[in-house]
């Protein structure tokens, strides 16, 4: 039982990263109809930024947790204005290729300067202990990540459902043409939403730095799973991406724990789930068939 709870907890922690990244992808896709392949690269930049800030300017983890997401959000907005926005009228494939190219450029820039070796980043001292849950103890840092991610997801949900900005974003996501017909300037919100999604990826990167290997390829490895998560949740579905993120984290953790005799199953379980969901509900668990644009 203790083991099960621990594994569940771990699954949720992995899921928290998936959820933060998938959420960003979902809002970007919803608003811009762009599948942002560069999402993993921004996650990597978040982690690397935290490392560079600490090692070269002595900026601690907590400050990096604010600076990096904001900085990357600005960079994201600049990119949206400079290039992505120019291709949105064309086939979505163009932006997919563009963001793929961006990924390669960002990775190589970091590689050129810092090499491929992982860079050291220690857990902040105040979070390096363990929390005693009675039945088991758990690293404080993981508890922090889980709490932080859940709070953030709730905050995003609140903004989307209870504020005017959220209403516009949801409307524009689901019925872009109709929203425009009501005289709402959807275009005004496109750039900030893109920046917001990128900021979330950067935030996930900073959170990952103390517990994952910080290197130029860290995002490239993760992005494949994130795409699976987004597809399972339903492309563009904001709630679906978060739910699928946590769900896939759990499925992976349980699979590794209880199916370890069948490594083939435990290692492919995410994609098995994805295939099953696509067969059963082609639009994803929480997605709806694409509204005619």
């Amino acid at each position: 039982m203790t083991g099960f709870l621990q594994n569940t907890f771990n699954g949720l922690v992995s899921g928290a990263f998936y959820a933060l990244l998938a959420l960003g992808l979902a809002v970007i896709f919803g608003m811009l109809r762009v599948v942002n392949f560069a999402h993993g690269a921004f996650y990597m930049l978040g982690a690397f930024g935290a490392y560079v800030l600490l090692s070269e300017a002595g900026v601690p983890f907590w400050a990096a947790l604010v600076i990096m997401p904001l900085g990357l959000a600005l960079l994201g907005m600049a990119l949206e204005r400079a290039v992505i926005h120019r291709l949105t009228r064309l086939d979505p494939l163009y932006n997919f290729l563009l963001t793929f190219g961006l990924t390669l450029i960002l990775q190589d820039l970091v590689k050129t300067r810092y090499g491929v070796q992982s860079s050291p980043y220690a857990t902040p001292a105040e979070l390096s202990g363990s929390v005693d849950f009675g039945l088991f103890d758990f690293p404080t840092y993981r508890v922090f990540i889980l709490g932080f991610a859940v709070l953030l997801c709730v905050a995003v949900w609140w903004v989307l459902t209870r504020t005017r900005i959220g209403m516009v974003v949801r409307a524009a996501t689901e019925r872009p043409e109709l929203t425009r017909a009501f005289g709402i300037d959807v275009g005004r919100w496109v750039t900030p939403v893109f920046g917001f999604g990128i900021g979330l990826a950067g935030l996930a990167g900073v959170l990952a730095a103390p517990m994952r290997a910080v290197n130029p390829l860290m995002g490239a490895d993760l992005i494949i799973v994130i795409f699976a998560v987004v597809v399972i949740g339903g492309l563009g579905s904001i709630f679906g991406s978060v739910a699928a993120g946590f769900g896939i984290g759990l499925v992976q953790a349980w699979g590794e724990a209880y199916l370890s005799e069948f490594p083939i199953v435990s290692q492919t379980i995410v994609f098995v789930v994805m295939a099953a969901v696509l067969l059963w509900r082609p639009a994803g668990l929480f997605g709806r068939e694409e509204a005619p644009a």
Binding site: Q6, N7, V116, P120, T123, A213, M218, Q267
Partner: protein, 416 residues
């Protein structure tokens, strides 16, 4: 008239050159170098996961070997025209295959060096065999290079999975704990390492109480399931043996520390680790971890002098792969010098059975039976942060494993 003056001048020059060269060994005209030059090819990972531990700095190490060779032999050197070709194989077997063919056929490479990643290394061994050209492998771990894939033109210079498992598995079982939990990346290298370690542990009187193959590549980057499971096994393992390498090793160690397994009585042993891995994890994260090293830069004065020169060129301390590339290039050039030719078969004859002592190979011997180069290996332990007194000096050598014990006996699978 003018023409005949030219001819005379040219003949005089030829005579002069021949006269100077006359001091060199066996330069009697019919046995000589192809194209009057030697070309060394360094084929390795220059952009990916293994580019730091070997990569371009190994090219630098080979350049150092050439400079030293020229300084040693001066005018008596078999040639002064020695150059280096280099290519990035991206750890892909097909790329390695194509680049190796190109090096031998079009770039006139006499010897291919390094080639990390076992699958790529085996491909290049096939190319060397087919082209009858030399290949000294440094970067790859698979024992197959001196097992069923061995051939007349391939030598395995630095280390292999048997050496790693034998050193770490045996000594850790005897000195730290008998019960092991093994975590390995589930692909050829990891499976090979797991088998070698299990065998070494069992033969030292230990038990593998549990083992798990983690996904490879592990896209989630998470190993917590395995790390949580380790202390709950019955009997409880005293040692977690991780066979992950590079960034995956970094993930395992970071999370091992997060879950405080050392405080829970589970020590850490690492299958394959390079100096650059310790640098990126920081010694604090690895303090007390034991592993087998093929060479350590601050082991003695001789290594240190090499390391100081290497640092001047590269700004970093050498890993064992760098030192081994230097050694392999040096021994090849000396063999050509002694033979007076770069003919591969003649050079092989000179190398087989040769005992060698250089900065990397201590008590070294190039085995004729399977072309395994045996030499002293070292059981190393990562220092605690307080013990680290200078940058990159992260390790203390607990024990020297004599060359005769460090490597396996020649495999019956190998027929040269």
């Amino acid at each position: 008239m003018r023409q005949s003056v030219g001819v005379a001048a040219a003949s005089a020059a030829v005579l002069l050159v021949a006269g100077c060269g006359g001091g060199g060994p066996q330069s009697d005209g019919d046995q000589k170098l192809t194209g009057d030059k030697i070309v060394l090819g360094v084929l390795n990972d220059q952009s990916g996961a293994y580019s730091e531990l070997s990569g371009r700095n190994s090219v630098q190490a080979v350049e150092m070997a050439i400079a030293d060779f020229k300084a040693r032999h001066g005018d008596r050197a078999v040639t002064k025209d020695i150059s280096v070709e280099t290519a990035d194989h991206q750890n892909k077997p097909d790329v390695a295959n194509a680049k190796a063919q190109e090096m031998y056929d079009r770039k006139g490479v006499d010897l291919i060096l390094d080639v990390p990643t076992s699958s790529a290394a085996l491909k290049v061994a096939d190319v060397a065999k087919e082209k009858k050209r030399l290949y000294f492998n440094i970067g790859a771990a698979t024992t197959e290079l001196t097992g069923k894939s061995c051939n007349r033109y391939t030598f395995h210079w630095a280390y292999d999975t048997y050496m790693l498992a034998n050193g770490t598995g045996k000594t850790t079982t005897e000195q730290i704990g008998k019960n092991w939990y093994i975590l390995y990346p589930n692909y050829a290298f990891g499976q090979d390492m797991e088998k070698s370690f299990s065998a070494a542990i069992t033969s030292a009187g230990g038990t593998v109480v549990g083992k798990d193959g983690a996904p490879f590549p592990n896209t989630s980057g998470d190993y917590s399931t395995f790390l949580l499971k380790a202390p709950t096994l019955n009997p409880k393992p005293q040692v977690l043996g991780t066979m992950q390498a590079g960034a995956e090793l970094v993930n395992v160690v970071k999370q091992y520390n997060e879950f405080k397994l050392r405080d829970k009585g589970v020590g850490l042993a690492v299958g394959l680790m390079f100096l650059t891995d310790i640098h990126s994890l920081t010694p604090a994260a690895l303090a007390g971890t034991t592993y087998t090293d093929a060479w350590y830069w601050n082991f003695d004065q001789r290594n240190r002098e090499f390391a100081d020169r290497f640092s001047k060129e590269t700004g970093t301390r050498p890993t064992f792969a760098h030192a081994a590339n230097y050694s392999a290039a040096t021994q090849y050039l000396e063999a050509v010098q002694a033979a007076g030719t770069d003919d591969a078969d003649t050079v092989v004859e000179g190398l087989e059975g040769k005992t060698v002592d250089d900065v990397f190979l201590r008590n070294g011997k190039i085995r004729a039976e399977d072309h395994r180069v045996v030499h002293d290996a070292y059981l190393a332990q990562v220092k605690s942060q307080a013990e680290v007194t200078e940058p990159w000096d992260y390790v203390k050598v607990l024990k020297t494993i004599p060359a005769a014990e460090a490597f396996r006996a020649p495999s019956p699978d190998c027929k040269l």
